[in-house]
Every structure is written in C-alpha cells, then in structure tokens.
Symmetry: C2
Subunit: 344 residues, 2 copies
C-alpha cells in the first residue's frame, strides 16, 4: 500500500528510512481552524451526528490536505467513541467538552460493559469513513487512524468529563486497583479490535493519544498505563504506530522498550532529552508550541527552522498539542510551507 | 526568631542543618478539608471578605496546626491579592475559581498598573494577619509567607481566569514580548515589596507558587519566568525561600543556580531525578500524590514511608499539589502521623 502513495514521507520516517525533508501534519488539523470545516459542521445538529456520518467525516479528513497541503490525513473522529461502543454514552457540550451522564464507580459497572470485537463492531461507521477516505485520497498522502490510550479513556469514564485534577479517576487507582485493571483491560481489548478494523479499512499508521498521561505518578503510569499501551503496540504489527502521551516525559524510557516506531512529544520536552531516552532508532514527532502560530510569519519561520535543526533527522513535524481553534490560518500555512521548504 | 521556636524542623532543613525526622505540612492545609475552616468561612459573604479580615485569616492559618499537628503554618491568603493591589480587580466565583472582569491586552494597560512598594502598601491586611498569627502561634511552629510567581500572576492577568491552555497569556509572549517583560517586571517589583513586608511582619520562610510553569516551553521559561524568580530570590536574603513550579521538571537546573534553599516538586518528578539536577545542597519539598490520601490507612502509610526513603535527608514532606478539598481528614491525619513517627 505504501508503494502506491504519491507522498509517503510520513511512512518512510516512521519506518526508519531516510528522507529529503521532514513530513508535517498537525494534530486537530481536521477541525475548527478551517472555514470549510465550520461550514460542513453547520449541517449537523450536534458533534456526534457529524462524527457518525462517514461521508462528512471523510470530507473533514481530506479538507486540510486540500487547503494546507499537509503530508498526512488523520481520520476525523473522537477518542470517546470507544467508551460509547462499550456502553457508556456521552454528550459533547459545545465549548465545554464531553460529559458522561453515567460514570464507572465499581466492579459491577465494569462487568456490564461490552468489550473487544463485540464492542468494536458498533464502530463500523469509523471503518467506513476510513475506507471512503482512503479511496477519495487517491494515494495523495498516508491516512492516520487513532484511538485514545486506555488510561485516558478510563479517566473520562470514571471522571465523567474533563477535569482540572482527574482526582475521581486517580482515586479509583488507589481505592480499587483490581477494578481499575479490569476496566483498563476491557478498554484495551476494545481498542485493539477497533484499531485492527481501522488498519483493515485503510489506516497506514496508527496513533494513540494519552492526553492525561501527565496526571499520573511515574509509578502509576508504569502500573496502570504503560502495560496496556504495550499490549496495543504488540497487537498491531501490520503498520507503524505512534504513541503521544502528553506530560509523560518520565515515561519516555518505557516507550523505548515497546514496539512504537514513533514517539510524540509535547512542547515541554527538549529534543535531546527525548532522543537520549527513546534511543537512536525511533522517530520523534512534535513538538512546536501551538501558541507560536499566533506569532508573526518571521517568528513562525525562525522557530520552525530552529525546531527542525534541534531534532535532526528521524523527525515528523507536528505541534506539541492539538492546534487551537482560533489559530490564524495564515500562521498554519506559513508553518507548513516553512517545513516543506527544508532540505536535510 | 528561629531560636525561640519550639518546633523549628522546617527551618533547620531549609537551612541545611540535620534533623531527626522530616518536617511535614500540606499545601492548602488552611482550607476546606477542615470543618473548623468551613465554619469560619460561613461567617463571610464571599472569599475576598474572608481573606481581607486579618483575625479570620490568622485563625484559618492556625487551625491545621491545632487540628493536624503539622510542623508549619502557612498564612491564609490568595496569590491573586497581588494583581488586585496593582489595580486589576478579581472576583472569586464559588466552585469555579477566579475571574478578572478586565484583563491586560496591551502596553497602555500595563502602564496604568500600580507597582512596587506603592502597590504592596494596599496589602497591609496580609501583613497584619502575619503579625497576628506570629503572635498567636506563640512560637509553636514556623510561619510561611507566600506569593505567586510572576509568570503565574501574569497568566491570570492576561487570561482573565483559569484556563485549560492559557493560550491568551502564552500568545502575548509571542506577539508582544516587550510588553510581556514590562508586565512581568511590575509584578516582580510588587511581589518583592509585598514579601519584604511579609518577612518584616513575621514570615520565617517564603514560598513562591508557579502554578502554570508547566504551560511554557523550556526556552520561554528561561526567558519569561526564571529571571524574575531569580530577582525575587536575590531580593530576600533574610529568610530561607522555596520555589514550587508545578510541571517545570525542565527548569530544575535553572533553580539550582538561584538562591533558593528549597525546591518544591510535583508528583511527576522522581526524587533522584530532582536531586541530580538541583545538586546536593538544597532541600527538596514534596511530592506525595494528593490522591493517595483517599487510599486506606495502610496504603497511605506504605507510600509515605516509601517516599521518605526515596528522598532521604534534606527533605520537607508535603504533597505534590494542594490537598483536594474533599480529602478525608483521617487520611491526612494518618499521613502526618506516619511522617512524624519516622526517625532517620
């Protein structure tokens, strides 16, 4: 499949091949920064109806490839489709974020959840969106599939939504460690089946988002997060895989020992610090400060080139977090064009 | 003053003397975990009226010494009294946090702010509270004074309240670096005058809270945060000082070169990692996960003793963040008693 791509920079870097310049894409590139996205979104009564429509999801996925010329497409979806597939419904409240009317509190709640292939089957709309996108992309760029990491999904299912501290979710790790592990395993089983389906339907690379990794102590990360990430990485040998654990600078050495080809970095982590910890072989992804895109064209260019120099090769350019919705499109364009003018 | 204290463990560790056991106190110990605090708070129409009443602030400060037997008192106040003194008023909205009706957007806004001794003079109610507390404590334990670090105060003044990303505040660093430095300098001048007054009125040790340190890139921290912290540390030679920069694991080496006697750590940072970076001389403070206090007495005891072993001497026991308001008092008591039964 890689052979048929016109632009396979992303996959070459992920697979350890040498390239003439770093590939560039942006987390949340399929989203509110694009006027086309906002127009498309307006056709749906709510975010979930949009996500569940394969034609619309596919259109949103391809918009940034058309508009910004990025080197990869990432399927438009949400990490919270997994808890929903497991039987825990959520609402997406405009400008506030997700809310789960029911949360997981005890072992019996975990027992009632669906998991594995049975749960993943209800996510066929995402698989359809991938197949449609793969076909519509006509090999222009690779297509990235994704899911939330088990700890991050756990955090939402127990906390019931976003939180400053995720203290309910973290409390469960102390008060009910066995129940916590049972829930994490069910999430993991579902995620593996879901991602296997994504690969079957056209994903060229898979990225796991561990958005709340930084809330855990290093010991907890080693007990409740890393082992499940390792299970997922091992279960998907067909494609290269990226782990992005925001705030988990302390876990880079754990990732070094797992079969991830790419390690994503937030903007706190200096490139040399990461390289020393993940070893010489893996690619690093990131870690431009999304706020720098509010700066002048000159600021953006200077800092983008600085970043590329600091990382050296085996680098996929991205932000250190999702692009902020009110980022000026011109700033994003300057960023992408600057990176695409680089030659190693 | 140190000589007259019955329990001077905290100051001995901060000053590099050896002690028989680590001192222990908790960030936010004067607060909602205590039923006495909630009763006292009910006497005031709002949080700010409470903060501005020296007798009440002093009572809240001493409550945890009486109830929990902690080894230090920290003056009950709020870091946002500084922007208010500079002319930027805030409201504290119950269960939501602070809100600034007016924010700093441009150079002319900065020019209009009061600063230095002139601004600090309006904070005499905090100084009174310190003097009263010092007298009422009768030398039982040391009294800690505090302020927010300049970057954290800047973040609130520009953002207008709490935020998931502080993207408005961080954007200003890119778009208006000179205005940003002007504002940071005014905050620094005010903070120094305010803390000199705190020391004059009885503070035995000063702690700076850089709650949003982790939002910056290492380069930004070096440009916009660390230099102002260094100014403050150098301006207050009379007492030992603690810097607590949450999320700023990447800045520990910068702190090593400043005259801080104590470096506070959040729960992400392994003790050996911190010790290697701050050097052998300084004391480390922290870094128990506040969520562990929801665990069983056995869990709390085991983990507390593990932490004490991992840090070794030159350690002030505390949490890695403020204690959560709904933490069971029994858990806190178990924690404090466990630490106080340690003998090196």
């Amino acid at each position: 499949m890689t052979m048929q791509l016109e632009n396979d920079l992303l996959l070459r870097v992920a697979n350890g091949a040498s390239v003439e310049r770093p590939p560039v894409w942006l987390m949340r590139q399929a989203g509110r920064i694009l006027p086309q996205y906002r127009a498309l979104r307006a056709n749906f009564p709510d975010f979930k109806a949009f996500v569940k429509n394969p034609a619309a999801a596919s259109e949103a996925t391809i918009q940034p490839v058309d508009e910004l010329g990025v080197d990869a497409a990432i399927i438009f979806s949400d990490i919270l489709v997994v808890p929903e597939a497991m039987g825990l419904d959520y609402e997406m409240i405009e400008a506030k974020g997700p809310k789960f009317p029911t949360t997981i509190e005890q072992a019996s709640d975990v027992e009632q959840l669906r998991s594995g292939a049975e749960a993943a089957a209800s996510l066929s709309y995402v698989w359809e969106a991938l197949a449609l996108t793969k076909s519509n992309l006509q090999g222009r760029v690779p297509l990235i599939g994704f899911a939330g990491a088990p700890w991050t999904i756990f955090a939402y299912m127990v906390e019931g939504g976003g939180s400053k501290t995720f203290s309910k979710a973290r409390r469960m790790l102390y008060q009910q460690p066995e129940t916590s592990h049972a829930l994490l395993q069910k999430i993991t089983d579902t995620t593996i089946a879901y991602l296997q389906g994504q690969i079957k339907h056209g994903a060229d690379l898979i990225q796991l988002f561990d958005s709340w990794a930084g809330e855990l102590t290093p010991e907890q990360y080693r007990e409740f997060a890393a082992p499940y990430l390792a299970q997922i990485a091992k279960a998907l040998p067909e494609v290269p895989k990226t782990v992005f654990a925001k705030g988990a600078w302390f876990a880079l050495e754990d990732f070094a020992e797992m079969p991830w080809q790419v390690v994503g970095l937030d903007w706190n982590i200096p490139p040399a610090f990461a390289r020393a910890r993940v070893g010489a072989d893996k690619a690093l992804q990131g870690n431009f400060d999304p706020c720098a895109l509010y700066g002048s064209a000159e600021t953006i260019r200077e800092r983008a080139l600085e970043m590329v120099r600091a990382f050296g090769p085996k680098h996929i350019v991205n932000l250190g977090h999702g692009v902020y919705p009110d980022t000026p499109l011109e700033g994003v364009r300057t960023f992408v064009q600057t990176i695409q003018s680089v030659r190693y």
